[in-house]
Symmetry: C2
Subunit: 293 residues, 2 copies
């Protein structure tokens, strides 16, 4: 999908957030933001893809600030918070062992979305996490292709699961363990730090590598960029029967390609441009099969 | 006061909002936003004053879009909504005729802030307006120099009241009528369209010109810019014993000057940079005397 005019606001907000992680000195912050405005101007336009525009801008910011990983602190924090929170849902999780495969799958898809919804940022508290988790788990999937998903899981053999952010990757792990009951799963994370996207380090921290083979995209592009991806990634992308794409970045970028196999997009529509593209409301939770069943 | 690094987000958001008023065509919107990013880059920096940075950016946008008044529709709507809403508070207003001068003054100051709080935008409803008005009127003034204000009103003769936005100018009129019980009041509006700031047209629409002499700043600067102001404005600014400055734009800009008379700032601290500058929380309502009593 392409950006909308209002995406200008969001990318500038991201830059401000990142710059605040990079330096506490306002003078430095002003300089970095000012310089990045030129970069935004260059990549902003009706043909820009949100995830790729973000990639260019965050790469530029990493370069001019000599900071390879501005979100390091936030990612570490997200991982720790998610791990600490896990025990709170273990009881609930176990209950689902005795429910139907469809109910269990749907619950774990929602859990993976909840991981994407939770703000693991510096001001989040256990109460907030609890509330948001509950809202997502008890709410409906506005687009719900879970029946088709279960059918495809039974019919096919191999899944490539594209992870999204640090922290939430722990919740992805729980869904991936469920998917493994049906298929061989390979998970992929980013090949280098970008935004708060999960890298190998985060995958190892939550123990995802103990559960499935974890590869990287081979680059630090937000979402997927097949032109920049490593041979290893392209091979797994080719071999997989089903692609599971988590989060908005993967959705924004994969929808730019025509893919000859089922892709399951799992995300919360967090902003108007994405929500309008999928024809849902902002805040809706989505398990969308492409091609549409 | 000067801008903070995060003001980049807010000015871009304003540009996006304005551009959506200027054209419905996305291609035009992209072009205008993209071009305005250069202008923002030029005026953005640690020495920028929020209101004046906004002035440069909105002037640039008016120029490149050949649209002299992008907020015309929103201002007209705000005026109409405010006028339509007036009857709902007339009963409450009358009650205050029998209360003490201090209570009455404070109530009308809060009403003027409420006018600044209400979102008269396209999605506001009577219910929202009711709720926000009630919240402001029943809440406290976080900085409350109403006693000093009453004292100064009794002691001095002449007020220059700097208005802020269309719509809310009707609520300013109610406060101005109260101030007239003590002093001669001159009200000023902007000399040309900028943002949703009130101009002569708005003052006339709500009948402010029937109540006091209304002048303009002589220019389309957000807030006050004494270097650009007309002789008429400067004369009234000089003659006044008290300046009453409504809204954040007037606060942001007037604090750049040293003024040898009491200034009363009346506003809601709507964003972190302004709130931090005044040492209050975002959302707090302020009646601040400068110099501090």
């Amino acid at each position: 999908m392409k950006i909308k005019p209002e995406c200008a606001t969001c990318i500038v907000r991201q830059v401000v957030d990142a710059v605040k992680e990079i330096s506490r000195e306002e003078e430095v912050q002003f300089k970095l933001i000012r310089s990045t405005l030129s970069c935004i101007k260059e990549v902003y336009g009706p043909d820009a893809v949100p995830a790729w525009m973000g990639t260019e801008v965050h790469r530029y910011l990493k370069k001019i600030s000599n900071n390879e990983d501005p979100y390091k602190r936030l990612k570490d924090r997200a991982n720790k918070l998610a791990m600490g929170y896990l025990k709170n849902i273990e009881g609930e999780l176990k209950k689902y062992n005795y429910k139907s495969p469809l109910e269990r799958l749907k619950y774990k898809v929602k859990l993976a979305i909840a991981g994407n919804v939770i703000d693991f940022g510096p001001y989040s508290t256990d109460v907030d996490i609890d509330r948001k988790l509950k809202e997502t788990l008890e709410g409906e999937l506005k687009i719900d292709h879970s029946r088709e998903f279960l059918q495809d899981l039974k019919h096919y053999d191999r899944i490539l699961y594209l992870c999204d952010n640090a922290g939430e990757i722990l919740f992805d792990k729980i869904l991936i363990e469920e998917l493994k009951k049906y298929c061989e799963v390979v998970a992929s994370v980013k090949g280098g730090p970008i935004l708060n996207d999960a890298t190998l380090e985060d995958a190892r921290y939550v123990g995802l590598d103990k559960v499935v083979k974890v590869i990287t995209t081979g680059c630090d592009a937000i979402g997927v960029n097949l032109e920049e991806a490593s041979q290893e990634f392209l091979k797994e992308f080719e071999r997989a029967d089903i692609i599971v794409a988590k989060g908005m970045g993967n959705f924004e970028s994969l929808t730019e390609y025509s893919i000859d196999k089922p892709v399951y997009y799992i995300f919360k529509a967090k902003c108007p441009p994405v929500a309008q593209f999928v024809e849902v409301n902002v805040g809706d939770n989505i398990l969308l099969r492409s091609p549409n069943p």
